[in-house]
Symmetry: C2
Subunit: 380 residues, 2 copies
């Protein structure tokens, strides 16, 4: 295994040294003033990043835990929920809601297709409405990013509470919770928020809190009201993940110092650079070739090459970790994450390594052009 490592997966993502350093400070008590300072600042910054005046509830959990909080606060057993699915994470939310007795109607796309708000509008009309709908902003398994503003418009018009999975997209691509009228935004610490995994978050609108107050579904750890009440006193109902909160506060400070608009623009350029480099090698994209697809780039593995073999060489020989395909796409695609703590040189490094490794595997690729193409696309 090479000494230098490069983490290019769509989560967990690289954590800035400043964040790691903050987490390595001596432990402090979660109810003491010194922790409350970090915690209060972190909660306020989360609102800024989510573009909301509402509470962003923090759970010691992975993103799936935070999503479960949306299900148990919003979905009564037997009630209908529409789940927009076009990949691995959409499928997970279907199973999660079904586990809690929801009557899940799927608006199902093939993996790699981009869900359309007009289809949700038609589906809601067809089934006579639904109290809740789920949609994934960035489907990490395929690289597709959906137009959440359009989905929010449809959901609002239908009186449907919209839950957006923004686990891999928050702070990478725009999501204006209040301006767009999104009811619930779910995310996690380990993607564009540049923090190790372990914190899940649920930004909850006033309308969604009211919805939750009417839903009879057992809940304790995930109870939104309990968490809201504690956070109002800069407290947590259960011991929070102190070091992760302190780390995330530093990461959020870095994101806000860069500025959300600048960060979004950077992600667009990172996506463009990746796609340009991939195409210059003569490879074809699995994820859409469009600016919105700025989180993960999914690439079809060249003919005769199992993407698992590519990933193995990259990891074992060159220290570069990228992701493979999930489900039916296993072996057929590879995925490059460019979420969070990434700049142009991370992309050129990844492209260079992929070019070397594919050549070793005997793939029929164009060599020597990917980096230049990436630089040009980034700077355009």
């Amino acid at each position: 295994m090479p000494a230098k490592r490069y983490l290019m997966t769509p989560g967990p993502t690289p954590v800035p040294p400043q964040v790691l350093a903050a987490m390595a400070e001596p432990m402090i008590h979660h109810r003491a003033a010194d922790f409350r300072k970090h915690y209060g600042e972190c909660l306020a910054r989360l609102k800024q990043v989510t573009c909301t005046e509402s509470d962003v509830l923090l759970f010691t959990a992975s993103g799936t835990g935070a999503f479960e909080s949306a299900v148990v606060n919003l979905c009564a057993p037997g009630e209908r929920v529409v789940a927009v699915t076009a990949g691995s994470f959409g499928d997970r939310w279907v199973k999660l809601a079904q586990a809690f007795g929801a009557d899940v109607v799927q608006l199902k796309y093939a993996w790699g297709e981009t869900p359309q708000a007009a289809d949700l509008e038609a589906k809601l009309k067809e089934i006579g409405g639904a109290p809740v709908a789920f949609v994934v902003q960035s489907e990490t398994s395929t690289g597709v990013v959906s137009d959440i503003e359009a989905f929010a418009k449809v959901a609002q018009a239908a009186g449907t509470t919209l839950v957006v999975d923004a686990v891999s997209s928050l702070a990478a691509v725009p999501l204006e919770m209040d301006a767009w009228g999104v009811d619930v935004v779910i995310s996690g610490s380990q993607k564009a928020l540049m923090t190790p995994p372990g914190l899940g978050l649920a930004a909850v609108s006033q309308r969604a809190f009211e919805h939750a107050s009417r839903v009879k579904q057992p809940r304790f750890y995930w109870d939104w009201e309990k968490t809201r009440a504690a956070q109002a006193k800069v407290d947590a109902p259960f011991t929070p993940a102190v070091s992760l909160v302190i780390g995330m506060n530093v990461a959020l400070g870095m994101i806000l110092e860069e500025g959300l608009e600048t960060a979004f623009d950077r992600h667009v350029r990172l996506g463009r650079a990746t796609r340009a480099g991939i195409k210059a090698m003569g490879l074809t994209l699995f994820s859409p070739d469009e600016d919105r697809s700025a989180v993960v780039t999914a690439v079809n593995s060249p003919a005769g090459i199992d993407s698992g073999d590519l990933n193995k060489i990259l990891k074992d020989k060159y220290g570069v970790t990228i992701a493979g395909g999930q489900g039916d796409l296993k072996g057929k695609i590879f995925r490059i994450g460019h979420i969070g703590w990434f700049d142009l040189f991370d992309i050129t490094t990844t492209l260079t390594a992929i070019e070397i490794a594919l050549a070793e595997l005997g793939a029929d690729i164009v060599r020597g052009t990917a980096v230049n193409a990436a630089v040009a696309a980034f700077q355009a």
Copy 2:
């Protein structure tokens, strides 16, 4: 605020520098071989610390989350559960089980009393048995440690699945899960396991897995089978808290290198030293004056002194954080944790600071004897 800080609370507890350093290493991917090495080792070490051959399931959550996993896997709505309560955490498990529809029968003691297995035996007889019972090993709010071996005997004879809250006690006082026939042990990373908060664990016996397979209660994130199946492949069903797992693996290695028996003996001595010093000052104990009470020492605040004032001076002027009383005990007791990364000098430091601060508050205490008494008790 003084530059040097001393964390003497019963959780979160001080984290060894080696653990902090391990957590500050660059992020790695949770499905890559380098993480699996840490993860597999961590899961194996957890079994050793819990003295079990069964699976120890790891959740990205606080201890309360892990306890919720026991409730949703074992308690069917409407079914009876006996909760042994003698403090704040006992009370929390009552509320948690009630939230999921359990018919909770309380075996209730005053805060500070030590629950007795014979009382559980009588209660189970009185109500005609119960499928599940909860008991707290170390009640952090009072410093009382219960005799779990005796409780397990009673539960086994009654055919009751016993869930033990060992959040603050695991690796501090003996808990031989398999030898004693305990069905479920719940714990968390941030106490004697010397790791920041964020990992909850549930050690589950084969009998408890079978019990869970019969219980109809919606579950997804907390589902034991899902987690067991993933862990069997050295995987996790949802992105685990990578850095905390890596840190806890280092901490567990330190605990096992010291040896469990040596660690237990150290905790007994730390408890003795603390009690001896406290009594030498002329103060009285709230927690029992016995060797088993080796996790937290609770002390009655001297006449006329609000323990909140003591804690404030200790924190703000001397950098020493201890805990106050919870619930009705607020202001009336203070609590010194000695769980995990503690040695004799942590105790003498804390006693010295308490002596100085109480003198400043005008308390009628004996000065100049606490440290000697503590040293003598530790070395006896």
